[in-house]
Every structure is written in structure tokens, then in C-alpha cells.
């Protein structure tokens, strides 16, 4: 249960910081980290508590592989559009 609570807390903190932060780079940093780590902890907690099947690991694998890549792509697209200041 502690894993789920920590996961949700990380997501909450990341969401709040991402919402109220004005700079895109900082927003992306918070969302990229908090969502992957938060979701991972929630899913691991659910499997550990035997509240969910191993099937959920598949969703986790997709997120862990693709989310950092998409964060990287989003930053590259942003820099190519707005310029490196």
C-alpha cells in the first residue's frame, strides 16, 4: 500500500508543479519524471498487494520505454520551433 501512496503523491506533486510552472522545460521535467515514476509505483504496488494481475506490467513496460522517449522528442520539437535561448 505504501508504494501506491508514494506513487500517487509523486504524481500529485508533479502535476501541481507542472500546472503552475511557466517555463516549458521545467514543466516537461516534472511531468516526464513524476508520471513514469508515479505510475510505476502504483502498478508495482497493486501487483505486490495481489490486487491486480501481471497483465498490468505490459502497460508499465509501454510507459517506461516510451514516455522518456516522447519527453525527449517533445523537447527536441520545442527547441527546433522556439530556438535555443
Amino acid at each position: 500500500m505504501i508504494s501506491i501512496i508514494i506513487g500517487v503523491s509523486i504524481m500529485t506533486v508533479g502535476m501541481i508543479r507542472a500546472t503552475f510552472e511557466r517555463r516549458f522545460q521545467v514543466k516537461l521535467h516534472f511531468v516526464g519524471l513524476s508520471d513514469v515514476v508515479g505510475t510505476t509505483l502504483v502498478i508495482i504496488g497493486l501487483i505486490w498487494e495481489k490486487m491486480a494481475d501481471l497483465e498490468l506490467l505490459l502497460a508499465l513496460v509501454f510507459l517506461v520505454i516510451w514516455s522518456p522517449y516522447l519527453t525527449h522528442m517533445l523537447m527536441k520539437a520545442y527547441l527546433s520551433k522556439v530556438g535555443k535561448r
Binding site: V8, M11, T19, A52, D53, A59, L70, L74, R85
Partner: protein, 222 residues
């Protein structure tokens, strides 16, 4: 409040934030966060199939498509009044201080340029204000030194301000007489930009601070 409810409230809050974003990049980012939290919420509500689908479609595929769309180069419409040294029109293309600045801006930010010729200054300014054009070149004047690209004198003739190059052209065309000038003050030519491209202001300041504008100016005015 249990964990599921908290995640649902976060989704609700994030969806509103996503809709309210004015910048497209920020909106895509918040949409990505919304999907990731949705994966967590579906997992908590013991719907693994939906969570997997959301992870694949919502968090990954949709974001990927948005990024591809955002990477497509934008287009900038440049309105201009041909003016010596600033924006000169030739059969083979354009030349001038303002043209080189606009060209460098488009190269740096990956924009494609389209040109629209204007005959009257008022029409040019009106088109810029209405958003029909994104950048305005020609006798666009400023008193802010940071935004200036070439020094000039701004003459007062009746209730109108006329810059040095336009005055020369109007005198040679016989529209105005040099004796009509009442007063003058120092000013700068600049490139007008619309509110949809605030990055142009930063670009001009950067070019001014690193001496790029002076180097362009030396090619045309000695």
C-alpha cells in the same frame, strides 16, 4: 478520499488545465500527463486492459502524432513596402537590411516565408494589426533602441511622421516638398511583428547584442 478518487480529481483538474493552455506545446505536455495519470487510475480500478490501451493509445500514440504535427514547419507571411537599403525588390529576389534579418529569423526557427507587397504604409500597419501578415518590412519606425535596425530621422509634416528614406522617395516623386518639413527627431527603422510571434522581439534583441545587425548594416550603409 481513497487513491482512485484522488486520481480522478487529478484527471479532472488536468483536463481543464489542458484545455486552458494557450501554447500548443504546453497543451500536448499536459495531455501526456493526463494520459499517464489515467493509466494509474484504470490500474487502481482494476481495469488492466483499459490501462494497457490507454498507455498505448493515449499516452504514446496520440502524443507522438501531436509531436509530428508540431514539428511541421510553420509559414510566415511578410508584408513589405519596397524601400532602398531596407527591403529592395529585384527580378531575382529580395535584398536589404530588413530582408536579411527576416531571412535569418526564418532559418533559425524553421519557418517558410511568403511575401505580400503593399503600396501604402497604413494598409501595411492595418494588415499587421489584423494578423493578415506576421512581419512588416519597409518604413516601420520605433523609438526603442533595442528593436532598431537602422538609425533614421523622423520628420513631422503636418500631423504625419515621415521617415528619411520615405521622404526622399516622396520628394523625388514630387508628392512632397522638402520645405514642408516642420521638425524632426531621431528614431530607428525596425521590422514590425504580430502578437503571434513574440519570439521575434527576442531574436532582434539577440541580433543587436551579438553585433549581427551591425554586420548586416555595414554591407548596405557606409
Amino acid at each position: 478520499m481513497n487513491v482512485g478518487n484522488l486520481l480522478l480529481w487529478m484527471m479532472f483538474f488536468l483536463s481543464i488545465t489542458t484545455v486552458m493552455q494557450k501554447n500548443l506545446f504546453h497543451a500536448v505536455l499536459m495531455r501526456m500527463a493526463l494520459s499517464a495519470i489515467a493509466v494509474g487510475a484504470y490500474a487502481v480500478y482494476l481495469a488492466p486492459d483499459v490501462a494497457i490501451t490507454e498507455a498505448m493509445l493515449g499516452a504514446i500514440l496520440t502524443t507522438f502524432v501531436y509531436i509530428l504535427i508540431l514539428k511541421i514547419p510553420g509559414r510566415i507571411r511578410v508584408g513589405y513596402i519596397p524601400l532602398r537599403f531596407l527591403f529592395e525588390e529585384y527580378p531575382w529576389g529580395f535584398d536589404g537590411i530588413q530582408y536579411e534579418i527576416v531571412r535569418d529569423f526564418a532559418r533559425r526557427y524553421g519557418y517558410r516565408l511568403e511575401y505580400e507587397k503593399f503600396d501604402d504604409e497604413r494598409d501595411l500597419i492595418e494588415a499587421l494589426k489584423s494578423g493578415y501578415i506576421d512581419l512588416a518590412c519597409g518604413p516601420i519606425l520605433t523609438f526603442e533602441e533595442d528593436l532598431g535596425v537602422l538609425e533614421t530621422r523622423i520628420y513631422r509634416i503636418g500631423d504625419r511622421n515621415v521617415d528619411f528614406l520615405s521622404l526622399q522617395r516622396k520628394i523625388s516623386d514630387g508628392i512632397l516638398n522638402g520645405e514642408d518639413v516642420e521638425d524632426f527627431k531621431e528614431g530607428w527603422y525596425t521590422v514590425g511583428f504580430s502578437r503571434s510571434h513574440p519570439e521575434f522581439k527576442e531574436f532582434l534583441k539577440m541580433m543587436r547584442s551579438n553585433g549581427a545587425i551591425d554586420r548586416i548594416k555595414e554591407k548596405y550603409v557606409r
